[in-house]
Symmetry: C2
Subunit: 342 residues, 2 copies
């Protein structure tokens, strides 16, 4: 089975969305500017990628804040799905679809190490390689299965449950016979969690008393907490963990700035007395298992067993608003911007 690559053009200049101010907290549109530059030629061991879908991901907030990762004046570091229009990399042919660190721009000059997935001919929709089959999906798959594999009858709490990571965690848990409980920030997302993403229960953390909701939905406690938020949600959830429970630290969406580090309830006694194991997961440490996970997720998708939502804007200027939308929760699925038509 092959999916269609959408029509795209090959403009003569490269529009770049450059970071021009170090963001304070969440990046905003005015921290960026769009600049047109010439298209470069790939050198030996490089490929020229025509980006189709630019990705907006929470991790970019941390990158934008970090001078060692993101220089002011450079195109914003990002993931993207694109076509290798001119490849001088072994194993990647002209015309292959690729997913990797290609930046917010029309064209990227990339090395093999920048490519996370050599897709070749797509088997499922091209945009999904940046979402359910991209960093968020692979994060869900490798973190959950690697750190706290769900089993029959377990109760699993997931924060940002309607996001791409959380929605796939819910489905993995449900497939394993576990009972996923989702936390999200609006009533329509609560409905989507239950209807599409396999959640047995879901709550709008903005409107419920979370302590009471967990007491009621998980009276025997939580086996696993897949945590994409930290903050007050974590402080409440950790006190509902069963003994020997596991917490996966996968994101800190609840905290807009870590400089200086904010304060919160002390949690070390919970870890001790409940004999918990709390582990951090950073997907970029697991590049060697990335393509294997993409394959598994593609199979689930082809079998109709992987539900996901995408929120796709069009045109380079839309990129400026992508991160603000993400952090305000305004997006309705994996946030992407199609830039294949200049």
């Amino acid at each position: 089975m092959t999916a269609q690559i959408p029509d795209y053009d090959l403009p003569e200049t490269n529009r770049q969305v450059r970071l021009v101010a170090r963001p304070v907290g969440t990046p905003k549109a005015s921290d960026f500017e769009i600049v047109s530059t010439p298209v470069s030629e790939p050198g030996d061991g490089q490929l020229l990628v025509r980006n189709l879908y630019l990705s907006a991901d929470p991790v970019q907030r941390g990158w934008a804040a970090n001078d060692a990762v993101q220089k002011i004046g450079d195109p914003m570091r990002s993931l993207a799905v694109g076509v290798a229009v001119k490849s001088r990399v072994e194993g990647i042919a002209d015309g292959d679809l690729v997913y990797g660190f290609f930046g917010w721009q029309d064209y990227a000059i990339a090395r093999r190490a920048d490519v996370l997935t050599r897709i070749g001919k797509p088997r499922v929709s091209v945009s999904s390689y940046a979402g359910a089959l991209g960093m968020p999906g692979v994060t869900a798959w490798l973190a959950f299965n690697g750190l706290a594999p769900p089993t029959e009858g377990q109760t699993v709490l997931v924060s940002t449950a309607a996001g791409t990571v959380g929605s796939i965690v819910g489905q993995i848990a449900a497939r394993a016979g576990a009972r996923p409980i989702g936390l999200t920030g609006s009533d329509d997302k609560v409905a989507m969690c239950k209807k599409r993403f396999g959640y047995a229960e879901a709550f709008n953390y903005k409107t419920v008393d979370l302590d009471e909701a967990l007491s009621s939905a998980a009276p025997d406690g939580l086996d696993t907490f897949y945590d994409n938020t930290g903050g007050a949600i974590l402080d409440t959830a950790i006190r509902h963990m069963k003994r020997y429970g596991r917490i996966i630290a996968c994101g800190t969406a609840a905290t807009p700035s870590w400089s200086p580090p904010p304060t919160g309830l002390r949690n070390e006694r919970e870890i001790l007395l409940r004999a918990l194991t709390w582990s951090g997961f950073v997907i970029f440490d697991h590049a060697d298992r990335f393509e294997e996970a993409v394959e598994r997720l593609a199979e689930l998708s082809l079998d109709g067993e992987l539900q996901f939502e995408e929120d796709i804007d069009e045109g380079m200027p839309a990129v400026l608003d992508a991160l603000p939308a993400l952090f305000s929760g305004a997006n309705r699925g994996k946030k992407l911007v199609f830039v294949g038509k200049a």
Copy 2:
């Protein structure tokens, strides 16, 4: 090799140290009273133990605060080493030395499940079965080897490094070729850590700038933090962990009361970005491996490879001051009270 059981008498009444007030924070002498009662006869499946060494341990603070564990008016729950003077338990003979949950009293009626170590004839000094070969030593052995086994060249930070748990963690680390760094609360304990317990470096956390001390003593970061304190020491140490480092939560000595839980720096981002694994360890979950660990520690001790300090008072009234001494750091080694001579 057999060690001598010290002389003891068999008084006609049983002095009990009963908890008479729910302690606020650290238990103090006036929370207890000493009462004489008749000596009971063991029923079927029970044994009568003549306690010799009563133990004072940090965990008793938590027990004393918890109505489900410790009733007001009951003898204080504690560990002790004693002699089975009358056994109706299979596998335990009259005259066997035993270690277990015998309470702060002259005599205990115990079941098999209350006995952590059936010692029989002691191979090393009787008091050490309550310290280096007792709960603290076995905790150090099973937690460290189980959760983050030290290996050659690793840097391991240990808090309450001069205590019985910490002193043995230091020695296990040093024997494995790791580099243990100890934190303790006085200059003479710093000296003891380095001279006797295998520590490559040790600091008085009350007088150094801990952040600077760790930057200097572990410029490449910490592989493991064996944490007996939590609190501000933890908040500093976690920011010195290497990526993929491990934290063992084994005690929260720095925090006098958890009701309400105090606040501190948020640490979830450190766990995430450093991809740490932070695990809690409660020794009472590991009763099945207790005697095996005691055997290993006894062998080390007989080989002269296990250094430990004991701080032994005499006479039942001394028990009243044992916990205040422990939490003020006034003790100089495993805190025990010999009560074998009424």
